[in-house]
């Protein structure tokens, strides 16, 4: 009996791994085609045309802020330096308990303004709106609201206050490239089919040079964890999402940087206020809305890096971030379970969702089981020592090959790093990533799933900011000076949301449906 189980398990793992490898190879080819297509038909002259056009559509840049006193000023300045003919910047202060709002008021000469705020999407109570008395910051709006516990709730408030037909959602800890809006609006403008969302690549800002909110020199992070994450991001965006873009099946547009069609976002009900994977949740809602209403749609992706965000500097913060993401992924599959394997949702139900479910959601579980099972086999002497290293080498060399492909795709798109040495350092990271970084991610994912099932507390804003150490500011004499010293946010002040456990939620859903029946 045990031998049969081992045999079945071996075959399952073989086919699972082969399917995963095949999918990566297919995505590599797809992404290569998509990147080349993008490069062929998009030039920098397009940007100039758009900047000088009277027909450029307006864009609202929405960034929620919760306890971001360390980086808020430099990041808002970065948003204000974007180069686009018609845009506004909306910062949503989600009930920060530190000096975030005070700093904004002081730096940007803000005063309370009478603002006709309409709650098109439900969010925690809106308090007031601030506008700047300084004409230099006339496009800046600061919305102050009660803390909603999630970034999604803050985004909803920002959406309610926005004026333009498209919006860019970003985080206030992100530094955007000046041409972000011209680059990201292009797939929307260039398509005959309605484009509901566009994403672009994110990278780590940890070791970059920043001047007055503008990235002036891109470098791979020195610290190992953000460098792992840089490689992981490039792989996920350039290989994964660009590949999916070719067949119009992009599963997710990052919450750090995404452009959306506001009308569809509102019609889809906005962000799920209790969602901790608000980006994927929003895109799924929008796509489902389009399909439910039999409307054609497209989700675009561009291979350019437009956004630099501060990567987790240590394991503790990485753990918090990944636990939240994993928990959000579980919540997403729980909330949208009717889409999974549902032919009514076409590619979303039959390709994108199943792929994410099998190869991203289940992967940590299968891996963890594999490790435990291997320990068991090791303990009982079932391990074939002649073949086991070959199998390990097989996965290891594949992981390195994929990372190498991604580095080439990155170099093909735009050479962000100035020196070959920096490219080599990223390449070398690929050799240790599967050994050091990957097991941590697996562990944090499992922790996230466990947190979701057992209703552990979740919080947004759990990323401890260190500020931009390479940020240079000009002093009164015009001399460039270093701006930041690392400090910690008051962690105890982070609002925590107590969720009902999954079992209670299912019970509640059942009760709700019963009560609806009763009402009918």
């Amino acid at each position: 009996m045990f031998d049969i189980f081992v045999k079945v398990y071996e075959y399952f793992i073989f086919f699972y791994a082969t399917a995963l490898i095949l999918s990566y190879l297919i995505l590599s080819v797809f992404s290569f085609i998509a990147i080349n297509k993008y490069k062929s038909y998009n030039t920098d002259i397009d940007d100039e045309e758009l900047l000088n056009s009277n027909l450029a559509p307006g864009i609202s840049v929405i960034a929620p802020a919760y306890n971001e006193e360390k980086t808020i000023i430099i990041n808002v300045k970065s948003l204000l330096t974007l180069n686009y003919p018609l845009f506004e910047v909306i910062i949503v202060n989600d009930g920060s308990k530190d000096k975030t709002l005070d700093l904004l008021i002081e730096e940007f000469d803000l005063v309370e303004a009478p603002f006709a705020y309409v709650e098109k999407i439900k969010s925690k109570p809106y308090k007031r709106t601030f506008k700047s008395e300084n004409p230099k910051y006339e496009i800046l709006t600061v919305i102050d609201k009660e803390n909603g516990g999630t970034k999604a709730d803050a985004f909803n408030a920002g959406l309610n206050a926005s004026i333009f037909p498209y919006y860019l959602n970003t985080d206030v800890d992100c530094i955007l490239a000046r041409n972000t809006l011209t680059k990201m609006i292009k797939p929307i403008l260039n398509s005959k089919v309605r484009v509901i969302a566009v994403g672009a690549t994110l990278r780590m800002s940890n070791n970059c040079e920043i001047e007055e909110g503008v990235i002036t020199r891109v470098r791979p992070p020195k610290a190992l964890i953000p460098r792992f994450q840089e490689l992981e991001y490039i792989r996920s965006y350039l290989l994964g999402k660009m590949g999916w873009e070719l067949i119009n099946s992009v599963p997710n547009v990052s919450g750090g940087l995404g452009m959306f069609d506001k009308e569809i976002a509102i019609k889809a009900g906005g962000y799920g206020a209790d969602s901790h994977a608000e980006d994927m949740d929003m895109l799924t809602r929008m796509a489902a809305h389009m399909m439910n209403n039999r409307m054609e749609y497209k989700i675009g992706y561009i291979p350019l890096s437009c956004c630099w965000t501060e990567g987790p500097p240590n394991i503790q913060i990485l753990g918090r971030q990944r636990t939240r993401w994993a928990s959000g992924l579980f919540q997403m599959f729980s909330d949208h379970r009717k889409i999974l394997f549902n032919p009514s949702y076409k590619r979303l139900g039959l390709i994108t969702f199943p792929y994410i479910f099998i190869f991203e959601f289940l992967a940590p579980i299968i891996e963890a089981f594999g490790i435990l099972f291997s320990i068991f086999l090791l303990f009982y002497g079932y391990v074939n020592w002649s073949f086991a290293p070959l199998i390990l080498l097989y996965s290891y060399t594949f992981a390195i090959m994929i990372s190498s492909i991604v580095i080439i795709w990155d170099q093909m798109t735009f050479k962000y790093y100035n020196t070959t040495r920096e490219v080599v350092s990223l390449f070398l990271t690929a050799f240790i990533e599967p050994i050091l970084y990957h097991p941590m991610i697996m562990f944090f994912s499992l922790k996230g799933y466990f947190s979701y099932i057992t209703s552990r507390e979740l919080a947004w804003g759990t990323m401890t900011r260190q500020g931009f150490e390479n940020e240079k500011k000009k002093d009164e004499n015009g001399t460039i000076i270093d701006a930041n010293e690392p400090s910690e946010l008051p962690k105890d002040d982070i609002p925590k949301e107590k969720k009902p456990s999954i079992f209670n939620r299912l019970k509640k859903n059942k009760q709700d449906s019963n009560s609806e029946t009763f009402k009918t």
Binding site: F14, I21, K39, S40, Y41, T43, I45, D46, E48, E49, L50, N52, S53, N54, L55, A56, P57, G58, E88, V111, A113, P114, F115, A116, V118, K131, S132, E133, E138, I139, T141, I163, F164, K186, I188, L189, N190, S191, K192, F387, L390, I391, L393, Y394, T397, F398, I400, M401, S404, I405, I407, I408, Q411, M412, K415, T420, V423, F427
Partner: protein, 375 residues
Amino acid sequence: MKFVEWFLSFIFKIKTFPLIIQITVFLTMFFIIATLALVITIYTIRKRHNKLQKKLKNSVPDIKILFEEILFTDKKFSEQEIFDSFEDIVGTVNKESLDIGVDVLVQFKNDDKESKKYTLIISALDIVRHLEEKFDSRSNSQKMDAFQEAFVLNLNRFDSKVLQYAYSKNKRIRSEARNSYLALSTNDPYRFFDDFEGSLTKWDEIELMQYLKLQSVRGNLEGLGKWINYSKNDSLVIFLIKMVGFFKQKGIDDILLEKLEDDNANIRAEAILTLGELDIKDTEETLIERYYTEPEVCQVAIVRTIRKFNTGKSLNFLQEIFGESNNTDTKKIIAEAILNYSYEGKIAFQNLKNTLKDFDLLILKHVETPLIKYK
């Protein structure tokens, strides 16, 4: 010799493994070889990039100085002198160096640095031939570059090349060629207006508008209005109506009035807005009569047009519809129209502020707050 022996014995040994392990070993070897090939590729890409960067760093500032001297000073240069000076800077005048030169010229043009002597540089460096080669290149990216550079450098000698691609099998190239034809052709710029496939994209509109601006400078915009009636493509009709308003094309009042009866609400709305742009004030009464039977998109257009007419005759109408509207966004537009509707409008706005309360009052305050740029 030893390696060959080892390799053969290794192959022999592999053959004794189970099939799955054999596949694993084969794939592992493939991954290792592929990774090595990829590393060589990365190295080659970087080497080429570093070489180009070095060339750019060394030559671009000097090219800029040379071109600025030719274009923006009174100093006289012969074509041969320009070619020789350029060659001195870049070493060899080839495709790569000409691309750098064209980029510098395009940058000047984008920065609105105008001069009559661009043609002198273009002729001295034979940039027309260089662009022709780009048009003939197999790379779509090169072709797209050529279309745009020809437009920015105002080179209308590529009619035949553009026509050749106007029937290309590649949709993007075909569309770009047809749009470019509008800018590059002097004889029959609207030739492809009848051939647009499906709706125009917003990018098509942006490009076409750019090209129409060029035709407007050349005084070639006559006949644009007639396409509003000729075309069966709704998206093109909407775009043309907008352009007629933008370029203030007179003499198409009847066409616009006819379009007020169109089945497509977006066409009606655009026609209404253009009536405002062209200041055709005698239609104000008609527009007010239509207000209550039109959908929201047309209602908003009517309010904007009445504000534009600014005749002072429709203040009561604006006040009335402000009270009736339930849509906050529309209310803001109406309130803004009242506030900017002559002196009487300002007084009416203050009266409304004195009488209204709650959210309606907030809308009025919102609209009159100068700090709020986008209402």
